[in-house]
Structure formats: C-alpha cells, structure tokens
C-alpha cells in the first residue's frame, strides 16, 4: 500500500466532528498512516508503536485546540514525527549517558554488501545505511520522499527552517551514496 493512496483516502475532519468523534474511529482512521511514517523515523517497531500511541493521545487531548481542520493531517504528522525523534533521542541517550562520544569517526573501510560470498542483499544494505542516518535526517527523508510533503511543508512539520530541512535532505542523500558506494553509481 502506498502512502499517497492512504493520504488521498483520508477525509478531512470538520472541527466539530473531530471534537465529537469516537476515539476508536479516530485511531482507526489515522493510525495506519501514522505507523508507516513513524516506522521510518524510529529504529524499531516498538518505538514506532509508542510514538504513534503517544502522538495520537496528545492529538486526542488537544483536538479542541485545532482551529483549522484542513491542517489535521499535517498537525498529526508533526506530533508523531517529533514524538518519534524524541523517542529516538531517549533511546540513544540510554547508551549515550554511558558513552557520550563525539560524532561518528569515519575510517577507511570498504563496504562489501555485494562482496563475494556475502549473504547481505541490497535491501539489507540500504536498511543499514538508512538506519545510520540521524533521526532528524530520517524524518526529512520520510516526510519528503515517502509522504510526499513539499520541502516547505516538511520544514514546518519538523519545526526547522527551510534551509535546515534542505540541508538535512542533502546530507542524508550524500551519506547514503557514500554508504552504498558503487551500488548506486
């Protein structure tokens, strides 16, 4: 199932309807789309599940504060993506407290994803490379390339300037190219 298929089928809520909506219906309507988004930002499905639950709970509590129902989807995306990034930072900080090290040291190494005798497939290679991106970088990639948000929308959802969002996307692509090496060249 594609993201765009989901997005186009999601009806826009009217303000009053949202306030009076049933919680189960609300979750049913938005969780399938949001879990896909969160899974691209988080490292594992458990964190993605937690991010979606926490985000939907926040959204449900604050649903009366939403003035423009046309922005419901973007509003939910913002809550879930920020929650997913927060959870990822918390996850990192568990070990990070023990090893508050500098950024990754790049050293001479050759990626042999398709090396002779290697059992690693190209899909595994891109998964590992993608997981090596920072959570904010994954968020920009997911929102722009997967969810189809424009860069200004992506920047607004993540809560950064347009230039910062573009920079994150550029760095993410650069890093993926470097990690995947000749596979994409």
């Amino acid at each position: 199932m594609s993201w765009s298929g989901r997005a186009s089928s999601a009806p826009i809520e009217a303000g009053d309807e949202l306030v009076e909506a049933d919680l189960v219906d609300f979750v049913r309507q938005h969780q399938p789309r949001l879990i896909r988004l969160a899974a691209l930002v988080c490292h594992n499905i458990a964190d993605a599940d937690d991010a979606v639950q926490a985000g939907l709970e926040q959204a449900w509590r604050r649903r009366r504060t939403l003035r423009d129902p046309l922005k419901l989807s973007a509003w939910l995306d913002r809550i879930i993506v920020r929650e997913a990034i927060r959870l990822d930072r918390r996850e990192s900080s568990v070990i990070g407290r023990l090893f508050p090290g500098p950024r990754e040291i790049h050293v001479g190494a050759i990626d042999l994803i398709d090396g002779v005798g290697s059992s690693v497939t190209g899909r595994d290679a891109i998964r590992v490379a993608f997981d090596r991106l920072s959570a904010p970088q994954r968020a920009v990639v997911a929102l722009h390339l997967y969810a189809g948000h424009s860069m200004p929308e992506t920047a607004e959802i993540v809560g950064v300037s347009l230039e910062t969002a573009r920079s994150r996307l550029r760095l993410a692509r650069k890093r993926l190219r470097a990690e995947l090496g000749e596979e994409v060249s």
Partner: protein, 468 residues
C-alpha cells in the same frame, strides 16, 4: 553515470525501501483497536493529573505533589543518589574464550566484555546482569585450543538456569562444536571473533566445513564479519584506491591461507584484475626467492599473501631479494599481530620493508560511541582496545538490548526467557547501537554492514594505523 542519474537511482532504491519498510511496520504494529484501548486507559478520568477530577481528588493530588516535592528537596539536600530499580532476576552472561594460555587477544576480549557489563550499570531494570567467575571458562586443554573442552563449557552454561547468553568462542573450529549445543538449548550465542564464513553459510570452497546454525531459529550471531569479506576488501582496495591491475598471489598451504588467497583471486579477477602467478610457500627461503624472481617476469604490480604474520615477513624479505620488495604488499588479519615493538610480529620481522604493507581485518571500524569506549578501556587496562575487544563489547550491548526488549516476565521459565532473549537478539529487523556503530544481523546471524577495516603501516608509530 552522471550525478543526476546517480541521485535518481538512489531515490528510486530509497523509495522502494521506504515503501517496504512502512508496509512491514504496518503489518507488525499493534492494531488501531489495541492502540485506542491503550489510549482510552490513559485518558480515563482521574488517571492523570490535569484531568477533570472532583475537588477532594484535586486536594489529594495537591497533598501528594507537596509530599513529593518535600521528599525531592530532602533527597537533594542529603546529596542522595538516584534510586535504582530493584532487579527481580539475575541475567548471567557466560564467556567461553581461550583464557589462561597467554593469548593476549582473548584476554582483551574478556576485558571488553567485562567493561561492557560494568558500563551497563548493573542491569536493565528487571534484570541484574552479572558475569561471575564460574561463568568465565577457558576452551584450552593443556594450553591448546580444544573443541571438546569448548563444547563441555557450553553444556555447563546450558545447565545454569541464570545464563541467558554466551559470548564466544574465539576460534571458529571450536564454534562448530559449540553452536549445536547452544542452538538446541535456545541459548543466544554471540561470537566477537569467529570469521569463518562456513559457520553460517555454505561457502563451497574445497573441503572447508559448513555451518551448523540453522537458517530458521538462528541462535548464533557474530559481531565480526567474515574472512571472505576481508579477502574481497583487499581485492577491491587494490583494484580501486591503489589502482593496481595485476597481482602475485601466494598462500601458506594452510586451509585459512589457501581460502583467503582463493577468495582474493576470485574477487580481483571479477573486478578485471589479473593474477599473474598463484603459488604456495616452498620449503626454503632460497626456493621462495627463486619463485618470486620467476614471478617477477610476469610483471605483477602487487603481492597478496594468505598466511601468518611470520610467513608474511619471510615473503616480503624474499620479495626484496627478488627485486619486487617495493610493491604494495597485502595480507590478512594475521599480519595484524602487534606493533613493530612486539617481538615476533609481522612488523618487527619485516622491518622497514613493511612500509607498503596493508592488512585487512574482518570487522567494523567503530561508531560514534567508539572514542569514549576506547578512552574508558585505556583508562582501565592501560592499552588500546583491539578490534576483537570492541566486538566483544558490542556482543554485550546486543545481549543487553535484547534483554530490554524481551516480553517474557522476570518470573518466566528458563526456556521461555532464553528464547525471548534469543528472538530479540537475532531479530533481523532490529538495529543495535553499539561501539561498532549501528549494526544488524541477517537471517543467518552474520553482522551487517559487511565491512572490513583496512590498516596500513605507519612508519612513525611503527604500528598499524587505519588507512585513509
């Protein structure tokens, strides 16, 4: 291909991956009904502060908050420490390595493992992680590596109901006898040093043994990559960054050296390179010099040697006598046997002739956590961590991460808990944050990404240094 073409190809692959990952997550996530039920529980009136509650309840909340603030102040004034979660169950990590025989590499791995457990600050909440002396066993018998002893060690670990994972062994041939035992018991086993690809894959090279770890229900994982990856890395480095298209390839007659030379030759040829001569070490230095002098006529631009550091130094010296000592000299991790200051090491035996030598170690070079880990290791043990010591530390990190994610309760049966740890540890969808960087395991238990670290001789330090 142009940059734009490369970018489009990357985006296409990325889009496919994102779609797949998102769908996989949707299939494995909780259902909307389950999520709604959980949210319902949390937003139930009175469940959290801030909801509409009766006046009495609000007063009770205020009293409780006041008491909490007072307790917090008292705790701060007393300079207290954070209260720790009281673990309800011991989770023992067992170690099987060739300890006690003077093997400095094995001792370094054990040090890395113990440091990792200490750094875990005691546990994962429900579990108190420990490595008692009784759970650290050597697989040496009379000072010699012994598979029977290794197998007996693992049987003892299996019989200990507190053991949730085994780290080791060092040698792949011992792993062959140990893996079926840990596998039958559903016990997670993580090796920081087994590099034989045949443990997890059918490699189809000569009569090398094949793996015993089943593709389904894998219990064995390793935090080092395999020898074939290191050999192929040498071929790619030679053909790519070093820009050489011909190579003279030698081995030492031993299974390891022959396999490495074969894997190197296969990859180098696949890349378009030419193996000008392929041979094995003769019996004498004089014969070796003659062999190399003959091979020189074929015009090799480089030399690859599959074998030990001592034999590697002999080959390099013979190459100098034959007039090809200035060629890039590439070897296995066996050359990585210590600095030039260590008597008997490749670098000490080869002397200045090693100035164009490279060694290829099957393993990951280190991630964001590495610098801090290395500093802590140096502070405690007075030496730099070896690649295998880092891999040992990473094994513990994987076990601890698995313990954090187990669903089994702290009072679960031994088999249930072990299986939960095993399943979490070998889950191919999980990325583990380790000192090696983010790693994952494929369906066979092999670590990803498949990287080999390249070392070049640093004449100033007189030691190996990671190549730029």
């Amino acid at each position: 291909m142009s940059d734009r073409g490369t970018e489009e190809r990357l985006d296409a692959r990325l889009n496919t991956f994102l779609e797949d990952r998102a769908e996989d997550a949707a299939a494995r996530a909780r259902t909307p009904e389950q999520v709604a039920a959980e949210i319902e529980r949390w937003i139930r009136p009175g469940f959290r502060l801030g909801l509409r509650v009766s006046g009495m309840l609000r007063l009770a909340w205020l009293v409780m908050v006041g008491l909490l603030i007072m307790a917090l102040l008292a705790w701060l004034i007393s300079g207290g420490r954070l209260p720790s979660v009281v673990p309800t169950r011991i989770a023992r990590i067992a170690i099987d390595l060739p300890l006690g025989g003077g093997d400095t590499e094995a001792a370094a791995i054990a040090d890395g493992i113990k440091l990792a457990v200490d750094d875990s600050t005691g546990g994962t909440g429900r579990f108190q992680i420990e490595i008692p002396a009784a759970s650290i066993l050597s697989d040496l018998a009379d000072g010699v590596l012994d598979a029977v002893t290794g197998a007996a060690n693992v049987r003892r670990f299996v019989a200990d109901a507190d053991v949730v994972a085994v780290i080791g062994p060092f040698s792949s041939f011992i792993a062959q006898d140990e893996i079926p035992i840990s596998h039958a018991a559903g016990l997670l086993q993580c090796s920081p040093a087994n590099t034989d690809p045949g443990l997890t894959r059918l490699v189809g090279v000569g009569d090398r043994p094949t793996g015993t770890s089943a593709p389904s229900g894998v219990s064995y994982i390793r935090t080092v990559t395999t020898d074939d990856v290191a050999a192929a890395a040498a071929a790619r480095y030679l053909h790519g960054p070093l820009g050489k298209t011909t190579a003279l390839v030698l081995d030492d007659h031993q299974a390891f050296g022959v396999s490495m030379a074969d894997w190197f030759s296969a990859e180098f040829t696949k890349l378009g390179g030419t193996v000008t001569s392929r041979g094995s070490l003769p019996d004498s230095d004089a014969a070796l010099t003659t062999l190399l002098a003959t091979a020189r006529a074929q015009g090799p631009q480089s030399i690859y040697f599959g074998g030990s550091g001592k034999d590697g130094a002999s080959v390099l010296k013979a190459a100098q006598r034959a007039g090809i000592g200035n060629l890039p000299f590439l070897g296995t991790d066996a050359l990585h046997d210590g600095s030039g200051a260590r008597a008997g090491s490749f670098l000490s035996l080869a002397g200045p002739g090693a100035n164009r030598a490279f060694s290829f170690v099957p393993g990951l070079p280190g991630g964001p956590q590495f610098a801090t880990f290395a500093a802590r290791y140096r502070a405690r043990y007075g030496a730099d961590p070896t690649p295998f010591a880092s891999a040992g530390y990473a094994c513990v990190q994987v076990v601890i991460a698995a313990l954090r994610h187990v669903d089994a309760g702290a009072d679960a049966a031994v088999a249930t808990l072990r299986d939960a740890v095993r399943v979490a540890g070998v889950d191919t969808a999980t990325t583990f944050q380790t000192v090696l960087g983010p790693i994952a395991f494929d369906m066979r238990g092999d670590v990803m990404p498949s990287l080999a670290t390249i070392y070049a001789y640093d004449p100033v330090a007189g030691d190996w240094a990671v190549a730029n």
